[in-house]
């Protein structure tokens, strides 16, 4: 696959992690490529999807339905095999809302070390805006072999105690809405039931709402625009470790993708417990208002 990436993509730190709609149109039928649609709306795939794409629903396919955790190694191997994905398959994920849920699926695939996962820049909306073909019939792919591999959370996932220890030493990025960050509301606009008992943000966290990384058409902003946001504004320094969080970890996986693959930060972790854990946990330090605040005295 030696197609030249368009100029914008070639400027990113890991240009191999993002493909264009045109690339997908040309390669979706390749034997070693599987296109995956991952949306917020569970019926959207059925209303029309990229020919050959399989559907993965984050809520019902990637979460353990008892413990608040992701699926285990056996479940992941079964999911991949059932979708016709092998360990060496090139997976291209796309979805609704600027690839919000596509990035989440990619992040979960990365927990299991699936090597070649990419996003389709602009997601579903761009494909449709370009008038490209959609089909409604569910794709039936031949079952594949997928090994049971150990899930390795440590490199890209942070837990509450680690985040608590990180305050004051590792920069935190809060990707929620300004109202959630300040504590004016304890839930996301339009999602009132996913709230927390306490509002505000983790001390020292910089506020960078996730959607700022996306342009009008749902594609990612250019590297220069992203650097202006995350380096100049939020104060991140190239090469340092970063932890991103939101409310339940899905918006921050979008930011995880931006920081890790577009800007090249080596160690970016997503705190998927996020505010629904932090804002409900006993005795966790919280800052209200628009300022990041200081690390508490220890």
């Amino acid at each position: 696959m030696t197609e030249t990436a368009p100029e914008k993509i070639s400027e990113y730190a890991h240009p191999d992690r993002l493909v264009t709609t045109q690339w997908v149109a040309e390669h979706s039928a390749d034997a070693n490529v599987v296109i995956v649609e991952s949306d917020e709306d569970i019926l959207l795939y059925e209303t029309g999807h990229i020919p050959g794409a399989v559907k993965i629903d984050w809520h019902t396919d990637l979460n353990d339905d008892v413990t608040r955790d992701y699926i285990n190694s056996e479940q992941f191997a079964e999911l991949m095999a059932s979708k016709g994905i092998s360990r060496d398959t090139t997976i291209v994920v796309y979805g609704d809302k600027s690839n919000w849920w596509a990035a989440y699926a990619m992040w979960v695939f990365t927990l299991f070390g699936h090597e070649d996962v990419r996003l389709m820049d602009g997601g579903r909306d761009k494909w449709i805006a370009e008038g490209r073909e959609l089909v409604t019939e569910r794709t039936a792919r031949e079952r594949a072999e997928y090994p049971v591999v150990e899930r390795n959370d440590a490199p890209i996932r942070a837990y509450l105690p680690q985040v608590n220890d990180a305050i004051g030493s590792i920069p935190l990025i809060d990707v929620r809405s300004p109202e959630e960050y300040s504590g004016a509301r304890t839930h996301m606009p339009a999602y009132p039931e996913e709230g927390a008992l306490r509002g505000g943000h983790i001390p020292t966290a910089a506020s960078v709402p996730w959607a700022r990384a996306a342009a009008e058409d749902g594609t990612f902003k250019s590297r220069a625009e992203l650097e202006a946001i995350y380096l100049d504004e939020a104060g991140l320094k190239p090469g340092e470790d970063v932890i991103a969080y939101c409310r339940i970890g899905e918006r921050s996986s979008h930011t995880w993708f931006v920081l890790k693959h577009l800007l090249g930060f080596e160690n970016v972790r997503n705190y998927d417990g996020s505010w629904t854990e932090w804002g409900n946990a006993v005795r966790m330090p919280i800052v209200k208002g628009t300022e990041p605040g200081d690390a508490p005295q220890r």
């Binding site: 917020e40 569970i42 019926l43 059925e46 809520h59 999602y191 039931e193």
Partner: protein, 145 residues
């Protein structure tokens, strides 16, 4: 305590209950395609519709209560095509409750959406949008009476 649903809505609940989980999603998709368009007098005046913010996608609804003895309720919904789940929920409520007397709708139990058997297939998080819709309809009816 079982509160009686109007026949129209009870039949829809039965239809959902009588199929497998996967077929229930297909049924909801069918409903989403059948959501009627807004009449022109409302379509041209979005300010007459109220947004249900609990829905994950933009959903607008309004009601009109007739002056007849039954205080018949007319329902109007609008949701974009890229929100089929939201459209499906709206369409179920529209088909099951539109044209019913106000009191019959007010008597529908608040947890009626759970009776569709979609909670596992759709997740409780997504089901809340429909519960919010029903709550909003009832609130607007109470305000109108």
């Amino acid at each position: 305590m079982v509160t009686t649903l109007p026949t129209t809505l009870a039949e829809i609940v039965d239809d959902f209950q009588n199929v497998t989980e996967r077929e229930r999603l297909e049924l909801l998709l069918e409903f989403s395609r059948e959501l009627p368009e807004l009449p022109a007098r409302l379509a041209d005046h979005p300010e007459l519709l109220e947004q249900v913010v609990e829905c994950q996608s933009p959903l607008f609804l309004t009601i009109e209560v007739d002056d007849d003895a039954d205080r018949t309720v007319n329902l109007f919904f609008s949701a974009p095509p890229e929100a089929p789940t939201t459209r499906g929920f709206a369409s179920v409520l529209n088909e099951g409750l539109n044209g019913q007397p106000a009191q019959i709708i007010l008597d529908v139990p608040d947890d009626m959406p759970e009776q569709l058997g979609l909670t596992r297939a759709i997740t409780p998080l997504r089901m809340r949008g429909m519960t919010a819709m029903l709550g909003r309809i009832k609130r607007k009816i109470r305000e109108a009476l």
